[in-house]
C-alpha cells in the first residue's frame, strides 16, 4: 500500500479488557501496543476508506457536476442534475418500480415465509404430538433455502427463459398451452405492464426460503408448553398462529422487514439480465440501480448518474428510519 490513510487512528493509551496483573509483564506489552494497533488497523481501514468510503463522499460532489467522464474538467452546476431528474419520465418510472418492489416483495415474502415456517414447525398435528412439524420438514427447509445461495445472476438467466415466449423454450407458456389454458399465455417479457410484476415474482421466489429458515429458527426457540397450553384451551391453528406464534417471533419479523426493504431497493441483477440495460420494452421495467448504471456506463453522464445515486441513498435512509420508527411503536403495543 503506497497510499495515504485517513486520520482517526490516534495512538493508543491503555489496554482495557486484559490488562495483565503483573507489573513486570505489562511494560513491554504497553510499548508494543501502539505499533500493534496501528499495524492491525491500517490494512482494513485503508482498503475500506479508499474503495468504499471515499467513493460515497465523492459521489455527492460529482452529482453536482456535468462530468461526462471523458474530459478532465468537470463544471460545477449546482442542483441542475437534480432538477433534470425531477423532470425525467424514465426516472419516474424507475422510482415507481422501486416503490412497487419495496411494497410488494417484502409483503409477499414475509407472508409466505411466515406461513411456510409455521407449517414446517408447528403445523403438524400428529398422534401423540401436540405440536410438530409436518412430515419431511427438514427436507423442505433444505430445498426452500437453496435459491438464497444461488447467484442472483443465475436466477435472472433462469427466469429469463422461464418467462420466454414458447418459440424460445419459455416453460410457463408451454405449460399453460399444454394444460389447455392457451388464453393465459402472454409475452411476459414483451408487454410493458407485466415487466415489473415479473421482477416482483422472481425476487420473491429467490427470497422466501431465507425467511422460512430465519422464522423457523425463531419458532424453534418458542417453548413447546406454550403451544400445548393453547391447544388444550382449544385454540384453532389460526388462533394459535395469531395469538402465540406471531407475537413471539415478531422481533425477528421486524428485523427481517428492514433487511428485506434494503434488499428490495436493489433488483439490479434481475432487471439487468432479464430485461436488459434499458429496463425492457419502453423502459417499463426500469429500476434506479439500472438507471444509474446505464447513465454512467452506457451514456457517459456520470454527474447525472451520481445524482440518481444520491436520490437512492436518500430513499434507503428514509425507508430504514421510517421502518424502524413504525416497527418500534408496534413492539411497545405488543409489550
Amino acid at each position: 500500500m503506497t497510499l495515504s490513510t485517513p486520520a482517526g487512528r490516534a495512538p493508543a493509551k491503555r489496554a482495557r479488557p486484559h490488562r495483565p496483573q503483573t507489573r513486570r509483564a505489562s511494560d513491554p506489552m504497553r510499548r508494543g501496543k501502539y505499533l500493534f494497533i496501528v499495524t492491525f488497523l491500517l490494512p482494513p481501514v485503508a482498503v475500506y476508506a479508499i474503495y468504499m468510503l471515499s467513493p460515497y463522499l465523492q459521489a455527492i460532489y460529482i452529482s453536482m457536476t456535468d462530468w461526462s467522464g471523458l474530459t478532465a474538467t468537470q463544471n460545477f452546476i449546482g442542483f441542475d442534475n437534480y432538477v433534470r431528474m425531477w423532470n425525467d419520465d424514465q426516472i419516474r418510472t424507475a422510482l415507481r418500480n422501486n416503490l412497487i418492489l419495496l411494497v410488494f416483495v417484502p409483503v409477499l415474502t414475509l407472508a409466505l415465509g411466515l406461513f411456510f415456517a409455521s407449517m414446517l414447525n408447528v403445523g403438524g398435528r400428529r398422534r401423540n404430538a401436540a405440536v410438530a412439524g409436518v412430515r419431511g420438514s427438514s427436507i423442505y427447509r433444505v430445498v426452500y433455502f437453496f435459491p438464497q445461495v444461488l447467484s442472483i445472476a443465475i436466477v435472472g438467466v433462469l427466469f429469463k427463459y422461464v418467462f420466454a415466449p414458447e418459440s424460445a423454450g419459455g416453460i410457463i407458456n408451454t405449460f399453460l398451452s399444454k394444460i389447455g389454458l392457451e388464453s393465459l399465455t402472454r409475452l411476459w417479457l414483451g408487454e410493458p405492464r407485466y415487466l415489473i410484476w415479473v421482477v416482483v415474482l422472481v425476487m420473491t421466489w429467490s427470497f422466501v426460503g431465507f425467511y422460512v429458515v430465519l422464522f423457523s429458527a425463531a419458532m424453534q426457540s418458542v417453548p413447546r408448553d406454550i403451544y400445548e397450553a393453547a391447544l388444550l384451551d382449544g385454540a384453532s391453528r389460526f388462533t394459535t398462529f395469531r395469538k402465540v406464534t406471531l407475537p413471539l417471533v415478531w422481533d425477528t419479523v421486524q428485523v427481517g422487514w428492514v433487511y428485506m426493504a434494503i434488499q428490495a431497493m436493489d433488483g439490479f441483477a434481475i432487471v439487468h439480465i432479464m430485461l436488459g440495460v434499458n429496463g425492457g420494452v419502453e423502459g417499463a421495467g426500469d429500476v434506479l440501480g439500472v438507471a444509474i448504471y446505464r447513465e454512467a456506463f452506457a451514456s457517459s453522464r456520470f454527474g447525472y448518474a451520481a445524482a440518481i445515486g444520491v436520490l437512492m441513498l436518500f430513499l434507503t435512509m428514509t425507508i430504514v428510519v421510517i421502518f424502524m420508527r413504525v416497527l418500534r411503536r408496534e413492539r411497545v403495543e405488543l409489550g
Partner: protein
C-alpha cells in the same frame, strides 16, 4: 424438527374430549382438521415444486440438443448431449470465467477474513481514542446502497491504474483490484460480526498468554484466531457466497471480456444467446455455475443456514 411430545393432541373442533387413548388413531381429528392438514401439506409441496422445478428444468435442458429444446421444452432429452458442456466451457468462455472467479474470490476471501479479523480484534479488545469512531465508520457502511459508489469507484480504480509499477495490479481489469473492492465492500459486515464475536471470547486465556510473554501479534495469531474459529468459518462461508455471486461490482471493474467473472459472464452469454441460437450451451453454462454452489451448500447446509440467518439477527 418433529419433536414428539407425550401430550395427546386435542383438536380444534373437539378440545380435550375425554382423554383419547394413545396409540390409537385420534378420534378428535375431524374431517375439517384433516382437510386443513392436507391443504397445508399441499401448499408446502407446491412451493417445493416451484423452487425446484425451474432448476431441474435447467439441468434437463442442458442435456438436450437445441432442436429438442425448441420443439419440446418440457420433454426429456433422447440422449445426453455432453457437447453442450464442451461448447459452454470453451466456445462460450465459461471455463475462463470460472477460473477468473476462482482467482478473484480466493484473493478477496483471504483479504476479507484476515483484514476483517485484524480490525475487529483491535476494535473489540483494545481501548484507544477513536475506537468508537472507526467502529461506527465501518458499521455505518451497512446501510449505504452500493449503486451510489459505482461511479466514483470506477474512477478511483481507473486512476490507480495510472500509478507507476503498481498500476497494473490496481487498475481496471485486474483481479487484484476487484478483490480489493470486494474486500472493502465486505468490511462493514465482517467487522460488525467479528467484533461482536471477539468480545464474547474469554479474557482469561488472553491474560494467561500475556503472562507467558506472548507479544500482541503472537497472542492474536496463536491464541485468539484459533479460538475464534467457529465464528470465522460461518463468516467465511457467508463471504464466499457473497463474493462468488457478486454481479454489479465486476460489471464495473472488469470491462475486458477475458476478465469477466462467472456471474457476469453468464449474464453476457444470456444476452447473446438469442443471436447465437445456442440455448443448450447457455443452460450447460448455468449448470456449471450452479454446481460449485450446490456442492458447497449440500456439504455445509446447516452451517450456511445458521451463518446467513445469524447475519440478520445480530
Amino acid at each position: 424438527m418433529a419433536k414428539d411430545l407425550v401430550t395427546p393432541p386435542p383438536t380444534a373442533q373437539r378440545p380435550s374430549a375425554g382423554g383419547p387413548a394413545p396409540g390409537r388413531r385420534q378420534p378428535g381429528v375431524g374431517i375439517g382438521a384433516k382437510a386443513v392438514g392436507i391443504l397445508n401439506g399441499g401448499f408446502l409441496l407446491l412451493w417445493g415444486l416451484i423452487t425446484t422445478l425451474p432448476l431441474l428444468w435447467a439441468i434437463i435442458s442442458s442435456f438436450k440438443t437445441n432442436g429438442e429444446f425448441r420443439t419440446d421444452p418440457m420433454g426429456f432429452p433422447s440422449g445426453l448431449e455432453w457437447d453442450n458442456f464442451a461448447r459452454a466451457w470453451s466456445a462460450a468462455n465459461i471455463g475462463q470465467y470460472f477460473l477468473n472467479s476462482v482467482i478473484v474470490v480466493s484473493m478477496s476471501l483471504t483479504m476479507t477474513m484476515l483484514f476483517g479479523a485484524m480490525g475487529a480484534y483491535v476494535l473489540a479488545r483494545y481501548d484507544f481514542p477513536g475506537n468508537r469512531i472507526i467502529y461506527f465508520g465501518f458499521v455505518g457502511g451497512l446501510v449505504l446502497p452500493v449503486f451510489l459508489a459505482l461511479v466514483p469507484m470506477f474512477f478511483i480504480v481507473r486512476n490507480l491504474g495510472d500509478l507507476p509499477f503498481v498500476g497494473q495490479f490496481l487498475g481496471l481489469n485486474s483481479y487484484f483490484s476487484l478483490a480489493l473492492v470486494y474486500t472493502a465492500f465486505s468490511m462493514p459486515f465482517t467487522v460488525f460480526f467479528l467484533t461482536a464475536f471477539f468480545r464474547t471470547l474469554p479474557t482469561a486465556v488472553a491474560e494467561a498468554g500475556i503472562v507467558d510473554g506472548c507479544s500482541h501479534f503472537s497472542l492474536f495469531f496463536r491464541v485468539m484466531l484459533p479460538m475464534a474459529k467457529p465464528g470465522l468459518i460461518s463468516l467465511a462461508l457467508f463471504n464466499f457466497l457473497g463474493h462468488w455471486n457478486q454481479y454489479v461490482l465486476p460489471l464495473v471493474i472488469m470491462q475486458d471480456s477475458d476478465k469477466r467473472v462467472l456471474a457476469q459472464g453468464l449474464g453476457v452469454l444470456a444476452a447473446q444467446t438469442g443471436f447465437r441460437a445456442d440455448w443448450t450451451a447457455l443452460f450447460a453454462g448455468l449448470v456449471i455455475a450452479l454446481l460449485p454452489v450446490l456442492i458447497v451448500y449440500i456439504l455445509f447446509q446447516k452451517r450456511i443456514q445458521a451463518g446467513l440467518t445469524a447475519g440478520v439477527l445480530k
